[in-house]
């Protein structure tokens, strides 16, 4: 079978009359045709057909690292805005442990309204709101840094192949960057100038995410300004 990539818009027929090709992501099978459902780049491989979307909001996936803001809490859980159409829920048990009792433990002693946290999605199936956890290393409250929001569809480009792009920015600016799959980033641990440089590099990647040779241009931009 021929493997190829092409630009597609919603409704475009990617594959016709081939029952061996599986529809994977952002495609829909109608009769014996596979249509794209998003604006993006279609990839036809041995495994099947998928479309890498170029626009759209964040839809949670189990295992994703996301950065969210506490917007509400009850006696049992925090409600977290994770930059999606679904609100994240962080159970108090996850933070206080099994011995958690609502009458004794005060949720605001750990996270208060407006706090920004790095968390992971442990469960989500669209019928219920995503369940979050902070029980892992590098997760939890973020105390300082610059928050940057980019389009969630551009996050894979920012990370690059096996993290190449983000590692390069971190090395050149000496910043620490936490990338949430939901398009929220925190840049920290460096001087104000270096943080600004990193933010500008991130903005450049967002604007020119679909172009090639971007790594080199980002490198030139950062290399030219930081001695």
């Amino acid at each position: 079978m021929r493997e190829f990539r092409k630009y597609v818009l919603p409704g475009d027929v990617i594959v016709e009359d081939n029952p061996h090709i599986k529809p994977l992501a952002n495609v829909i099978k109608i009769d014996n045709r596979i249509h794209a459902t998003r604006v993006g780049i279609a990839e036809v491989t041995q495994n099947g057909v998928k479309v890498i979307p170029l626009s759209g909001i964040y839809i949670p996936r189990v295992g994703d690292l996301v950065i969210g803001k506490i917007i509400d809490y009850s006696s049992l859980a925090w409600v977290v805005d994770i930059n999606s159409c679904f609100l994240g829920h962080l159970l108090a048990q996850d933070v206080f442990g099994k011995e958690f009792t609502p009458s004794r433990d005060d949720l605001t002693s750990k996270f208060n309204l407006g706090d920004v946290i790095a968390c992971r999605i442990v469960n989500f199936d669209r019928t219920r709101d995503p369940l979050l956890t902070v029980a892992d290393k590098d997760l939890g409250k973020i105390n300082n840094g610059e928050i940057v929001k980019i389009s969630p569809s551009k996050v894979p480009r920012l990370i690059g192949k096996r993290g190449s792009m983000i590692q390069m920015i971190e090395q050149l600016t000496k910043c620490k960057i936490i990338v949430g799959q939901n398009g929220v980033l925190v840049v920290s641990d460096s001087s104000k100038e270096a943080i600004n440089m990193a933010v500008r590099a991130i903005m450049l990647i967002e604007e020119e995410a679909h172009t090639s040779n971007l790594t080199q241009r980002v490198k030139d931009m950062l290399g030219g300004s930081i001695a």
């Binding site: 630009y7 818009l9 919603p10 409704g11 475009d12 027929v13 952002n26 829909i28 109608i30 249509h35 459902t37 998003r38 604006v39 979307p53 170029l54 626009s55 759209g56 909001i57 159409c85 679904f86 609100l87 669209r126 019928t127 569809s153 020119e208 679909h210 172009t211 090639s212 040779n213």
Partner: protein, 239 residues
């Protein structure tokens, strides 16, 4: 000869019977919307903004198995010759409804349960056929917002003017002509999602009119594609 059609079969604005008005579509014109589009369809000027999918408020509106599509077609007070009252009129409420019903079959709403998708269609200048232009632009804005769609929706009207079936009726032809038929079409799935008819046509005329409108929709679809391609793939530097 009728005043709407000259002796050499030219229409009031100089077009031939099967000719569209000039159409210009721009994508992503509003920064704060999740998706947006601007369309100039002849003298029609329309901005469309799409917000969502987002949480449903008030919560009791939300459906457990799919998203709700809300459409608002609204004409600005300055969009017509005589000032239009900005409150939604009977006509605007109806157009909002048919627009929603024209877009719904193209969207995969089951992918976003418990959410809403808002579509705002603002008519800045109106010249007949604004519902078709609104649907066309709304479909582009929905694609720009990255909402899962089975297909695009292209819309175009056809009608009967001075005894002849013609494509893309303008305001004057709509008021003085014999029939006006707006059609919305899903070009890849070959499905009709809007069909209205104001006026009288014989069975044969109806068939001819519908076919002509669908041809018009395909031309509009081509322009929608070009606009989206320009926005997303034009700055491609190297392969």
């Amino acid at each position: 000869m009728n005043m709407l059609m000259s002796d050499d079969w030219r229409r009031v604005d100089g077009r031939r019977w099967d000719e569209l008005r000039t159409v210009k579509i721009e994508v992503g014109v509003l920064k704060n919307a999740d998706g947006s589009a601007y369309i100039e369809f002849g003298k029609n000027k329309i901005v469309v903004a799409v917000y969502g999918p987002k949480e449903a408020h008030p919560k009791h509106l939300a459906l457990p198995d799919r998203s709700i599509l809300r459409c608002r077609y609204h004409m600005q007070p300055f969009s017509v010759d005589e000032r239009k009252n900005p409150a939604p009129s009977r006509r605007e409420i109806e157009i909002s409804k048919v627009t929603r019903e024209a877009l719904e079959p193209a969207l995969i709403l089951e992918d976003y349960p418990r959410t809403v998708i808002d579509v705002f269609i603002e008519v800045l200048q109106s010249d007949g056929g604004s519902r078709c232009a609104g649907i066309t632009a709304a479909s582009v804005a929905l694609a720009d917002a990255g909402i899962n769609m089975r297909d695009m929706v292209a819309a175009c009207a056809a009608g009967k003017v001075a005894g002849r079936i013609v494509l893309d009726i303008n305001d004057e032809e709509d008021k003085m002509g014999e029939a006006d038929m707006p059609v919305a079409f899903l070009p890849n799935l070959k499905q009709i999602s809007l069909l209205q008819l104001d006026g009288k046509l014989t069975k044969d005329e109806f068939k001819e009119c519908l076919n002509l409108a669908i041809q018009g929709c395909m031309q509009v679809y081509k322009l929608q594609r070009e606009a989206l391609m320009r926005k997303y793939f034009s700055t491609e530097v190297e392969a």
